[in-house]
């Protein structure tokens, strides 16, 4: 089971985990990314290359499925306007054993950060806004899987 979704709507990690738990594996791992309200952030705007995003996420999912013996994986990325505390991204993996589930989960979020066409713009309480800069650590985190 590979489920990849790009959506403006909220999602429920509990529901996503339950679907992964149904697959008969012994381990389900997840990562949920949440909008932090640092520095009076009032809104995070997620832009993406809509025609390309789904395929890019499918490519990342297929890479994980090829590397680890997964029973299932779920990738959800939200787009549009989000406020602090809202969930942005969800990665869930199911496998017979925990190692594959945990490693694939870490791989998937590292790669989602660097290999899918999303851009974040932050808007602050004082009216200013700025595009989030890519972090060198994210490129390094993704590179360790090569």
């Amino acid at each position: 089971m590979i489920s990849v979704r790009v959506q403006t709507e909220a999602f429920d990690p509990g529901v996503e985990l339950a679907a992964l738990e149904e697959l008969g594996g012994g381990g389900v791992a997840s990562f949920t990314g949440i909008v932090r309200g640092d520095g009076d952030l009032v809104e995070l705007l997620l832009e993406h290359h809509a025609a390309m995003t789904g395929a890019a996420m499918e490519t990342i999912a297929a890479e994980a499925a090829g590397r680890w013996p997964l029973l299932g994986l779920t990738l959800i990325h939200r787009v549009g306007a989000l406020t602090p505390g809202e969930r942005i991204v969800f990665v869930g993996t199911a496998a017979r054993h925990r190692g594959a589930a945990l490693e694939a989960c870490a791989f998937l979020i590292d790669w989602l950060k660097t290999a899918a066409p999303f851009w974040k713009r932050e808007r602050f309480a004082n009216g200013t806004s700025r595009w989030v800069e890519a972090r060198a650590e994210d490129a390094e985190a993704a590179a360790r899987w090569r």
């Binding site: 832009e47 993406h48 025609a51 991204v89 950060k113 660097t114 066409p117 595009w131 800069e133």
Partner: protein
């Protein structure tokens, strides 16, 4: 041949366009040459594309490098390094 150029994030904002259809000269065969050529289109293009190290591209919706060929491509997207996740 006409190519659809798409711009995202601050590249889009600085150029002031979501995209445009262009027909580059025949000697513009890769991403790097295309960016050089687009940068001559207007002051806004020149400014938006000035910092080549911070411009990334996708050719026909696949991530590309400066030397990726654009010959026969229908779409080239230009954007800053991605920041999803």
């Amino acid at each position: 041949m006409a190519i659809d150029i798409l711009y995202f994030a601050w590249v889009r904002e600085r150029i002031g366009l979501d995209g445009e259809s262009v027909t580059p000269p025949d000697d513009v065969v890769d991403v790097a040459a295309l960016i050089d050529w687009l940068a001559t289109s207007s002051d806004a293009h020149a400014t938006a594309l000035a910092d080549r190290a911070r411009i990334r591209a996708a050719v026909d919706q696949r991530f590309a490098t400066p030397d990726t060929s654009i010959v026969g491509a229908r779409e080239v997207a230009l954007f800053p390094p991605v920041t999803g996740g």
